[in-house]
Amino acid sequence: MHKINFYLIIFSIFLTSCQSIKDGLSGRKSENSDEFLVKKKNPLVMPPKFMELPKPKEETFDKEISAIDETNNIENILNIEKTQSVNSEKSDSAEDFVLKQLKDK
């Protein structure tokens, strides 16, 4: 009987469920050993065909650059030549118009 009581008193620690407020609020697991279960990272290795990468083609590269230059040319973008010619034609016609009016008077 005494032995049973002795064991029951020891095993009563399993029946209670108190917890320290610090562990409870932080959610820490006191018996956590997950760090040993983490898989180790493999060492860094060069890719298998790293040196066999294709070299860039120069011709196509130049063509692309020239194409970009053409499209980026400011004169082409603004159509300066065309607008100038239009403006000159317009100014001529306006002068003629004024002169005609003066002659008529």
């Binding site: 005494h2 049973i4 009581n5 029951l8 008193i9 095993f11 009563s12 620690i13 399993f14 029946l15 209670t16 469920s17 108190c18 917890q19 320290s20 407020i21 610090k22 562990d23 409870g24 609020l25 697991k29 006191s30 018996e31 956590n32 997950d34």
Partner: protein, 159 residues
């Protein structure tokens, strides 16, 4: 076993279990709407904490196998206690107190997979372990058992 004595013991277990469950149900409902601790007095607060382990936050594993093993052990201890309360000595009443509390904690272990603790007793910044009503009765039962064992034996030796 006398029916009257059996009824008294059963009522004792049932009352402790009921008190514990009602208190836990009430506290869980209160803490659903708020998360801050409830200030009662300068030395007593209510703070809901979930304990997945046993006493003093020990043996709280993430592994389900360990958790189920501990639960199984608790069930075995309760069954031994139930077997022992058949005797008509004073210790059987203390066993009943322990069973009542243990059943309360076991119910929560099965229902919530952890036991809610909420009574935070502290003196200034020194906080004692947060416990619940079931823990009070288990501890009281164990203390009474120890005291009765010591004094009972002394009387027996003197006689």
């Amino acid at each position: 076993m006398n029916k009257k004595i059996f009824l008294i013991k059963f009522l004792l277990i049932f009352l402790i279990f009921l008190t514990d469950q009602i208190s836990k149900y009430y506290i869980i409902n209160v803490f659903k709407s708020q998360n801050e601790e409830i200030y009662l007095t300068s030395f007593l607060n209510f703070q809901l904490i979930w304990n997945e382990g046993i006493a003093f936050g020990l043996l709280s594993f993430e592994n389900d196998l360990y958790y189920n093993s501990i639960t199984f052990l608790i069930v075995v201890v309760i069954l031994i206690l139930l077997f022992l309360i058949r005797n008509n000595d004073q210790s059987s009443y203390f066993y009943s107190m322990i069973i009542g509390g243990a059943l309360g904690n076991l119910t929560d272990r099965i229902r919530y997979s952890s036991v809610p603790d909420f009574i935070d007793f502290h003196i200034y910044n020194f906080h004692w372990f947060v416990f619940n009503i079931a823990d009070i009765f288990i501890t009281l039962g164990v203390i009474c058992l120890i005291v009765a064992e010591i004094f009972f034996n002394k009387n027996k030796i003197n006689a």
